[in-house]
Symmetry: C2
Amino acid sequence: MALKYALLGLLTKNEATGYELNQQFKETMIHFWSAHHTQIYRQLVKMEEEGLVSSQVVHQVDYPDKKVYRLEDKGYEMLLQWLFSKEILPSTLKDDLLLRVSLFQLIPADEAIAFLERAKEQHMFGLGLMEKWRDSHFPEGEFNQEDLGEYLTSEFGQRYMQHWIEWCDWAIQVIKRTKEKGSDVK
Amino acid sequence: MALKYALLGLLTKNEATGYELNQQFKETMIHFWSAHHTQIYRQLVKMEEEGLVSSQVVHQVDYPDKKVYRLEDKGYEMLLQWLFSKEILPSTLKDDLLLRVSLFQLIPADEAIAFLERAKEQHMFGLGLMEKWRDSHFPEGEFNQEDLGEYLTSEFGQRYMQHWIEWCDWAIQVIKRTKEKGSDVK
DNA sequence: CTGTACATGTAACGCGTTACATGATTGG
DNA sequence: CCAATCATGTAACGCGTTACATGTACAG
């Protein structure tokens, strides 16, 4: 159900095509969400059937026609209701990389360390992108009231990346220490 | 595909019933994964068809019969192949709570603060559970080589909770500050 | 007498992922 | 000439969630 609210939320800022909504997902929601364009198109069709959004086809000369979606009152009401009423459940992770980490006892220590070092690089790269994004959107940490949500979640994303990187360093040290102790561990 | 590997991974430790695998998910994989028992039963049937695991029905007198699954060589090989070969992609979050945070500009500041305070409590509760679990499984931070993966991922889970809690404190302060400045923000 | 744990599932539906399809314009 | 970008989708399949179904034993 949450993709629906994500799309309604984006449409509170501007009317947009499915394509543009997909771009916005990749750009701003990367901090805490992801969605494929196929999901977005599917969801938009459903939401129009339910009367939450409406669409208008815009003819273009040099480009293919596009379909612009606009938020309807019913959609806005549903969004606000969700924002106020839904209960708060602790968030759960679901992470492929950590699943592999949880089985590190099955592979050699060197493999495990190499894995963590590559994972660290990936997250450092991600952090770099987020920092750049924040600098261009909120220079000097300044933000407008209408961007409050984005400001808060982008900080979350950045801290999450830092947490990952720090944990990688910690985990690498742990494995190196158990390696030194050698076979007398266990 | 990942649930398959999670189950194969658990079965490297011991043979188990679907019920027990579900318990183990809730207990140890809570740090980075979740799965419903219905998924687990469905996946086990498929894995048996593929010859990755085998099962044996054990009759019981006072309880219903149970079906014990055991890892087969083919399953173990597939698991190791996955552990070694699959490329490393940066992890992506998907979090309902953050989706709501990203729309905080649509609700009053007091509501937003109340939301964050409840979210903080939830994560403090989660942290407490994880700390208890770690103390009982790894007293004094000691662990056996065969538990390396669990040791590393449970640290990740704990740090993740701490990161959440710290971010909540930060976000609450940000909102309080914009509230003070009042209408001259924007 | 009620709820919880044990133990295993089916059915229905919705979300997530991958592959495929089409076809124009612009930049290197 | 090739790749990328703009723009919109269908189809197939697998994963995730919720509701329902069945029946016993034990603790409070």
